[in-house]
Assembly symmetry: C2
Homo-oligomer: 158 residues x 2
């Protein structure tokens, strides 16, 4: 098991597109859930030419247990199309280096279009980090922004 320590923020403006990552190529992620129960999330994700299944335990503070296994892409595609809770999440991810860390900026598509969040993964809960100017309000503890909740309560319906 790994422990995922992650903090999530809204973006303040389009700075992430211009200053942040003019040369960063976005990667399309398709992901869905075989379970979106907060105590036992089972996520299926296709990123480019590979796929993974991720199990997540309940978050305690900003930490969460996480187990990841490779999946055949064909199986993952079948899960996303036929088994997962619908609709599945589609988003462009950009990995933007800044001050020694990598910010993952997710630009959502489909029913969540208009939503952009920036996440940073930390080695410890109390690790200090600098924020780029385009990073705004923290939403780590706002459950509406959980990807597993954006299926049943998409951003377009807020």
């Amino acid at each position: 098991m790994g422990i995922e320590i992650e903090r999530k923020f809204l973006v303040r403006d389009d700075g992430w597109r211009t200053e942040g990552a003019p040369h960063v190529q976005p990667v399309l992620l398709r992901q869905g859930y075989l379970s979106s129960h907060p105590e036992r999330v089972v996520r299926v994700r296709i990123e480019g030419d590979h796929a993974v299944m991720t199990i997540k335990s309940k978050a305690v503070g900003v930490s969460r247990g996480e187990w990841e296994y490779p999946l055949p892409v064909a199986d993952a595609a079948e899960f996303l199309d036929r088994l997962c809770e619908q609709p599945v999440i589609e988003k462009y991810r950009r990995r933007i280096p800044y001050a020694g860390f990598v910010w993952e900026v997710d630009e959502f598509l489909g029913v969540n279009a208009g939503l952009v969040v920036a996440e940073i993964e930390l080695p410890a809960e109390d690790t200090a980090f600098d924020k780029p100017d385009w990073v705004g309000e923290e939403v780590t503890h706002d459950k509406r922004y959980l990807n597993s909740n954006l299926i049943s309560h998409p951003y377009s319906a807020w």
Copy 2:
């Protein structure tokens, strides 16, 4: 993906212990569910020294899509103890050959003690097969006997 074609029966009496399988060693299975939703079952099972994760799609008739992946036993144990819906299912399984097929006889423990079911996996939905004398009423379509339902509605509470 595999297709699982399976029929399930109650046992009529203790014949499976005596005639059926006097020499068959039972194997202890521990299994639990990260999702027991009928359209996307995610089962974790430890059998002896190995573990698997199985994804099952909704059953159509007696057939069901099934995908199976090996899991590290330590991960599976952590899922069963900490993440899966509780209580987990424990049962002794005996594999009993009869007339060209193998019957899996599951003797449940814990909150499902007293329940014994016999299952046969078939190559096609219309495959003919002989039943041993100790095999009784068919319960393939009785959802109470789904292992995933025996957690929330255990046999001891029927």
